[in-house]
């Protein structure tokens, strides 16, 4: 008899498990749809306000959304490892472009904050 609590047995990679994985990501189906629409609106706003950077960033995210859409269709009704692998490939594409756009966006914000701080310092010392 063991005096230590044992970890529950790791389940097998069965078709049911692959379905659960597919379902876990497919639950976000509506959110992906809404996210694509919101990103589209954001891209439109950037376009009408001649915000080229905004258009570029929204474009990257929209490309990511397209990959997420494809990923959803792969995960849906997954029954074997290859379905999950295909879904993961598309999901990786979404994650990549979303990360790049965030990094560029926040990099520009950092630049803006640094310039504003520099301007304030100059104002403080010169005036």
């Amino acid at each position: 008899m063991s005096y230590f609590p044992t970890r529950p047995k790791t389940p097998e990679w069965t078709p049911e498990m692959y379905t659960a994985m597919g379902h876990a990501f497919s639950k976000a189906q509506w959110w992906v749809k809404i996210f694509t629409v919101v990103t589209g609106i954001s891209a439109f706003f950037s376009l009408v306000s001649f915000n080229i950077v905004g258009v570029a960033l929204s474009g990257m995210v929209l490309y990511g959304c397209w990959a997420a859409w494809k990923s959803l269709s792969m995960f849906e009704g997954a029954r074997q490892a290859s379905d999950i692998e295909e879904g993961l490939s598309q999901l990786n594409e979404y994650l990549k472009w979303q990360t790049i756009s965030l990094m560029v966006g926040f990099g520009l914000l950092a630049l803006g904050i640094a310039l504003a701080a520099l301007g304030l310092l100059l104002l403080f010392f010169l005036v």
């Binding site: 994985m21 976000a28 993961l88």
Partner: protein, 141 residues
């Protein structure tokens, strides 16, 4: 001791790529949260970024666990986390767009008000005359 990951039925490379980008994504959210809070006026948006960082950090840990322990339940949790971050991002983006629209309305309203003041016949002259009178009064005093 056998390496549990060698029994992983899913291509390890794809899982590692997913782990890499999820980790970078979470770090980008953390950095963004700090930057947004540094602006002072965008602190609520920083909160969304931190929330997203926390969700993605958990997904990263789950993905690491899949590679280490070969447990399919961890991949289910990781995919749920990655799916959930869409919702947080939607809330943040909608709030950001609403703020931009309010900002634009405020700019155009103030522009319109200033223009309408100058567009009224004789408004500019009246304003200048009033300023001159005030100036004369001060000089007289």
């Amino acid at each position: 001791m056998s390496d549990a990951s060698s029994f992983l039925p899913i291509d390890r490379e794809r899982l590692e790529t997913c782990l890499k980008w999820t980790r970078w994504f979470s770090w980008a959210c953390l950095a963004g949260g700090i930057l947004l809070c540094a602006t002072l006026i965008l602190i609520p948006f920083g909160g969304f970024a931190f929330w997203q960082y926390w969700v993605l950090k958990n997904a990263t840990e789950s993905l690491e666990s899949v590679l280490k322990r070969n447990d399919p339940r961890d991949l289910v949790m990781a995919l749920e986390g990655i799916g959930f971050q869409f919702l947080i991002q939607i809330i943040g983006m909608v709030a950001g767009l609403a703020l931009s629209v309010l900002f634009l309305i405020a700019i155009f309203t103030s522009l319109g008000l200033s223009l309408s003041q100058f567009m009224e016949p004789g408004a500019l002259e009246a304003q200048l005359r009033a300023q001159q009178v005030q100036h004369d009064t001060w000089q007289h005093q």
